[in-house]
Symmetry: D2
Subunit: 139 residues, 4 copies
């Protein structure tokens, strides 16, 4: 079984621009959707009501290979690419059938909310384990 959690999506009309293709900013929204679907697959939610822990974005990037168009059905494969004490990095591959659409990364920090401020804290060990398990990654 290959690594990665699979998230399926269809392109909405409002995600296209005057060039007739999905606007490049939407790919970051798609990556986040896949991230959150991975959390749900791992039996968690990235933002439960009253949660004291948040996951602010530190860095992200995307490389575009082939465009997406209205009503295209495509698939995102997401996995935990790296983890440090206080950060997680996800890797993403987008494809429509056999056509690679592009690849991206998203690095997030683990932070504790108190008094409206975010403070970096250690990523809970079980979060990484559960996400990796949901993405078919070896322990």
């Amino acid at each position: 079984m290959t690594e990665g959690f699979h998230y399926a999506r269809r392109v909405h009309f409002y995600e296209t621009d005057l060039a007739g293709v999905v606007h490049f900013s939407c790919y970051f929204r798609y990556m986040e959707e896949a991230e959150h679907a991975l959390w749900r697959a791992a039996g968690m939610s990235i933002d439960s009501a009253g949660a004291e822990v948040g996951w602010p974005r530190i860095a992200t990037a995307f490389e575009y290979q082939s465009p997406l168009r209205f009503e295209d059905e495509f698939e995102i494969v997401v996995r935990v690419k790296a983890a440090t004490k206080k950060t997680l990095e996800y890797g993403f591959t987008f494809a429509r059938g056999a056509t690679v659409i592009g690849t991206g990364t998203l690095t997030v920090a683990c932070a504790s909310r108190s008094n409206g401020r975010m403070r970096g804290i250690a990523v809970p060990a079980d979060v990484v384990e559960r996400l990796r398990a949901a993405a078919n990654q070896k322990p």
Copy 2:
């Protein structure tokens, strides 16, 4: 001097869709931008840090007459169209030069936030007065 506060805007690329025009949902974002600019013109912010009062949306509508395209410069005229004890209704007219783009309305309630719940409260009298003054409306 005619009634209404004037808010100027240029169309961004990502607001267009594959039909080459601004997506119809963006007009609601434009109306809200004009609403908040009116609040600033009245010396207020609709969401100050730690504010206990919010303005949830109750109803909104838009009628489209002529499309907007990439980099079009247009103007929104906003005014307080009606006020009840607990609600405010704004009226909007969009134009690009002499061309009417469309007209819209937005009705908001005044609500108090406590324990994460919103409860309808009376609209503070000075808010209506200040907004109407900023929109050149007679007292």
Copy 3:
């Protein structure tokens, strides 16, 4: 069997705003998603490649009753509410379980694209029939 085509959706993170609820402009995107899902259920696409016919928006409105929050699962019921020679009006009801979220309408015109201009034309009779059939509406 009650009237209406059912479209299921889960709220994405980027659809929420600082008030912790789905931004009011997103409901118009949701209505359009349901419209296009109805077209697909009727065996059509609202924008096939090279299509000469488009469906510009004429008017739309929404009344908000209860907010949607991150990861809420909700359902939209869409049906053809009215049809004239050159326009179609859809009606929408949003619900999360037994909770009504709100109701909306969307009126579109049928238009022919030629030389970059849109010209109003008669709605093809079979389009109305097929949409109504897909929405379980009597002929």
Copy 4:
């Protein structure tokens, strides 16, 4: 005079998310706004009506240092960071007063549209010169 074209922006309400800060995907829209403002400052539009040349996105990235909040006023400095025969790379720095918000890059290709397909072509020499001049960059 330091390098870079300056683009000023205020955060809109609908750009925030439930964490109370601007959603990370919006930074890519902001970068594109600054890119297009640079083009206008150079006396050009990136998408004139009937244009045969387009600028599809090849790669983009952003590193987040400090969040943006509702109604924050910030400034983007954009410049041409690199140019190859067929691509352009822009560099961006975001700041709110003395606070660095983050930095980003955007690489675009020059492409010719024909029959609905995009084909990579050489970047017109005067485009690079004009953009660099508008960004106060040495020839």
